[in-house]
Symmetry: C2
Subunit: 260 residues, 2 copies
């Protein structure tokens, strides 16, 4: 069966995450359903990043096997049609708000050896903080609202201590099933534009909740409650309890996945 690489975006808000669940809607299930309606195949789509409930993507990558070779543009259009019209009926109450908040941006025919998950060489994430007194209206669920003023320069400096090859035990969820807690964080930049702070980072792979725990820990530095050496101590402790809180999922975006 020919394999297709899909690049996709989604609003993670209505989903229990990427991974298929028994009792809640997931991104994977929505795509699998659309693929089945389009192609007749009962394939399971495999994603590069198993994003948590409420986490968004602007450049998630997945692969799926289809029963026969099909023009990639038709693959994109066909899956999108059923994502937006799950019953096959294009009529709906509010055409601006589709039943699924998922769109395939691109489909490409790839060799059978290609794996969206295992062939990925780098995953890029963005974590958005809105740093202001007033609560979020338009951006609720799409950024982390932090009231206390954050020093983004201190955060950027501290972030550099996490860059490199480390044991990230302190920054992974206690339920994380990854064999090794050792990862190489390639880049971690913190910038501010007005009331918005962006954390941009990439690595070959991340541990469960790693980005969100690092974001929560950097916020401790940004508020001045932690010195950079507190962050270093948290890293060295190899103990989840020593790191900061897990930042909320809505601020996190899977931005891009690189392949060789």
């Amino acid at each position: 069966m020919p394999r297709y690489k899909l690049t996709l975006e989604y609003d993670g808000t209505p989903y229990a995450g990427w991974q298929r669940q028994n009792d809640q809607p997931s991104v994977q299930e929505a795509i699998d359903d659309a693929v089945r309606k389009f192609s007749g195949a009962d394939s399971q789509v495999i994603g590069a990043g198993r994003t948590d409930a409420g986490v968004h993507a602007v450049g998630q990558v997945a692969h799926v096997d289809l029963p026969k070779e099909t023009d990639p543009f038709r693959v994109m259009q066909g899956i999108n049609f059923y994502l937006f019209n799950p019953t096959g009926e294009p009529e709906q109450e509010n055409p601006d708000i589709p039943p699924n908040r998922i769109a395939i941006l691109k489909a490409e025919l790839v060799p059978d050896e290609f794996s969206a998950r295992f062939s990925a060489t780098k995953r890029h994430y963005l974590y958005r903080i809105i740093n202001r007194r007033a609560r979020l209206g338009l951006e609720a669920g799409r950024a982390w609202h932090v009231v206390e003023p954050l020093d983004e320069e201190a955060m950027h400096k501290a972030a550099q201590m996490l860059v490199g090859h480390h044991d990230f035990t302190s920054f992974r969820d206690t339920a994380c099933q990854s064999k090794s807690p050792v990862k190489t964080l390639e880049q971690f930049d913190v910038t501010r534009q007005g009331e918005e702070i962006h954390l941009r980072l990439n690595a070959r792979s991340f541990l469960h909740h790693q980005v969100r725990i690092m974001a929560g820990s950097l916020a401790m530095v940004g508020k001045g409650r932690w010195t950079p050496s507190d962050l270093k101590a948290a890293l060295d402790a190899r103990n989840r309890a020593e790191a900061g809180p897990t930042a909320p999922p809505g601020g996190l975006y899977l931005v891009r996945v690189d392949y060789e």
Copy 2:
């Protein structure tokens, strides 16, 4: 009763528009409810722009009278509390997604003569188009999806023909109740960044659906189906039927309102 100026943002998606309706949720009603719970007053909030269903705001301005003088910061916090916790109970299923998608950004004590609606000297709008083949996932309901490639330079040039003092009959909804169709459009700029096209415009006031009909008409120019002189002819016709389609509400943002 002391008067407060409120600056606010909202995600227009779940609302039937700014204006209070008998049978559907409106932004005005949600704020009035929160004001009543906070202050006990049955005041009606008056907005600078009566945005349509699905139209967003990042800088809407409104005024409201409260029973007694209150620290403006407490006014902001108090109204926000009840917008986010309509029952007065801060517990909710998903704290990232509040029941209302409205936030007061700022409250200020103003003279009794101040009117958010009548004292406004300029209203600034943004209309967002995402110009790409793939449908919208993350930005569904927050931008207009246009598949056909748009020439943003042609759109910008054409937009300049709408700038100035004109009879905008062609660009107002047939149900528009404004006494005069003559308005002065101060500025209308079209720019592109990647797949996103921004229309930024301002005027003292606009007719009903004016921005959306102008956006729909400029898209005709951008697609190459209309020449700039077709746009001029549409303006001169003073006939709604001669202008382009009304662009969808989700792309429209009330960005700022100026006062003397």
